[in-house]
Subunit: 314 residues, 2 copies
């Protein structure tokens, strides 16, 4: 079977940090997400034909565009004799804490890999998508691109060497996301964090991340809920999200297993075990956000166990 | 079936901390361990008939003896109308970092529970054994008494409220323990630790504990090995154990998956996947310790998945 000349892919949004898993854990949702159409072309390198849905905010410069950089690094790696043309279709909010740049970075390399007959496995694409993340954020983190490419929960045990571990998740888990229309700059979210933490809080945190991983792998829903506590990062970053505490309380009162900041915010996510529950939580979070006079979007989806989707190829 | 009048139990040594799991993780080995003989008596309360094997170091005072305190707390809880007489048979070194006081504390309450027809499950006995630990150490920690009573790997996710999670371990795991004849006082081992740690090291540590838990539950031996790294506690406590670095290197060179300090030391443990490997590691660690002119004992055992053993009852 010959390789496709054109592919159209969807890559999902991701929730990084996951309460107690700062910088090491993320998971994929089913929506929102980004799309990329990629076409083989004779001119070597990567060429951005268009970007839509970004309100003109994303760079058309190949060297600074996440999707283009990840695709280009891949092309170099396989010593491609052809080039790739990209149409980037943003279908999720930028700067929302939902891994927008990661979704585009993952989509770029995922699509490029398909065009060349999938010489690499999804797991092997993570490093290229990280290069795309670096172009956008300055740091090559993997806790969004990992789950965006692999689906499910993904643990980044180590960066040096890169050690990526898929964590099977209970199929019953649902995620509610509230994206308040506030701006939290990733630099601010980083800068607000203290460089040192107390050993006591660190122990609490590693007890919780151990409990969360055990809960996911043992399919122990209550343990997942008990473990979703962040005593280190959330208390500091919550200061950047007006009303966070009330919104979280509303989610818990509506039946969420746990609720925390998605990535560096301002989006807030909550886990639950049914679509009905996820809907109730969404309504409760939205109601509280409305009460504060902050507009917002909400998303409900199961945990996305599959990662990217091929929408069409020809 | 009527309750026994006398029971003779064995409770195993335990390895707490387990590299990256400081204060939250422990596991049980099959040897060494402590024994307790407990007898029903008409006089209420707990009475210590004898302690052997301790070189006269352990208190006969019921209020300060770990085995007696744990048994006594249990008797109060069940409002027992009879008393218990204890013979405590120490068969493991004191102050070795192998959970000696925990083994006795667990044995006291485990035996008492049997004498009264096992009204409580092993999991429910942990709190009483913690009271025994507190009598000996001043703090009621659970990372030794938990695995001593439950066997296998035990995660203490939280102390408030107490949240104890059994982590099934791959049945192929073996443990080598080297107990160098050095004294490390638990107070010193506590005092040497910094009260604050860098966020960077904390993240490395929670990545590793997440990896270790995932490795145990996924039966991924290589992941267990890669995750057995402690960048927070071991570098500080190693200063209290002369030759630690060389002994660890010898264990790794001999095929250990990982090697770290057991509890607060001075014992050193290493994990591996066969009894042959565990033996080779034992010889290598011992040889290095001999070379340093430090005498030592070694123990080899599989992970003890069952916890306490009833040696006899009548």
């Amino acid at each position: 079977m010959s390789n496709p000349q054109e592919v159209h892919v969807f890559v999902p949004a991701t929730v990084a940090n996951v309460a107690c898993g700062f910088d090491i854990l993320g998971f994929a949702v089913s929506r929102p997400g980004d799309e990329v159409i990629a076409r083989l072309c004779d001119k070597p390198g990567v060429h951005i034909k268009s970007i839509t849905g970004d309100g003109g905010r994303l760079p058309l410069d190949v060297a600074r565009n996440t999707a283009a950089v990840s695709a280009l690094e891949f092309l170099k790696h396989i010593k491609a004799d052809k080039g790739v043309e990209l149409e980037i279709i943003k279908k999720m909010p930028l700067g929302s804490g939902l891994g927008s740049s990661a979704a585009s970075a993952a989509a770029g390399v995922y699509a490029a890999n398909l065009l060349f007959g999938s010489p690499l496995e999804a797991r092997e694409l993570v490093a290229f998508a990280m290069a795309g993340e670096k172009a956008a954020c300055g740091t090559a983190h993997a806790d969004n691109v990992g789950p965006a490419l692999l689906g499910g929960f993904v643990l980044i045990r180590s960066y040096d060497p890169l050690d990526i571990v898929s964590i099977p998740a209970p199929p019953s888990l649902f995620c509610t996301i509230l994206n308040p229309h506030l701006e939290v700059r990733t630099e601010d979210a980083r800068r607000i964090l203290r460089k040192d933490i107390s050993l006591k809080n660190a122990i609490t945190q590693w007890g919780n991340i151990a409990g969360l991983i055990a809960g996911l792998l043992k399919n122990d829903i209550e343990l997942i809920g008990r473990s979703m506590q962040d005593v280190v990062i959330e208390p500091e970053r919550a200061l950047l999200i007006p009303g966070f505490s009330g919104i979280k309380q509303a989610a818990i009162a509506a039946g969420a297993l746990g609720c925390s900041i998605s990535g560096s915010g301002p989006s807030i996510f909550a886990l639950s075990v049914s679509v009905e529950s996820a809907n109730r939580i969404s309504e409760a979070m939205k109601e509280e956000t409305d009460r504060l006079g902050i507009s917002s979007d909400t998303y409900i989806s199961p945990i996305n166990l599959d990662g990217p989707v091929i929408l069409s190829k020809r």
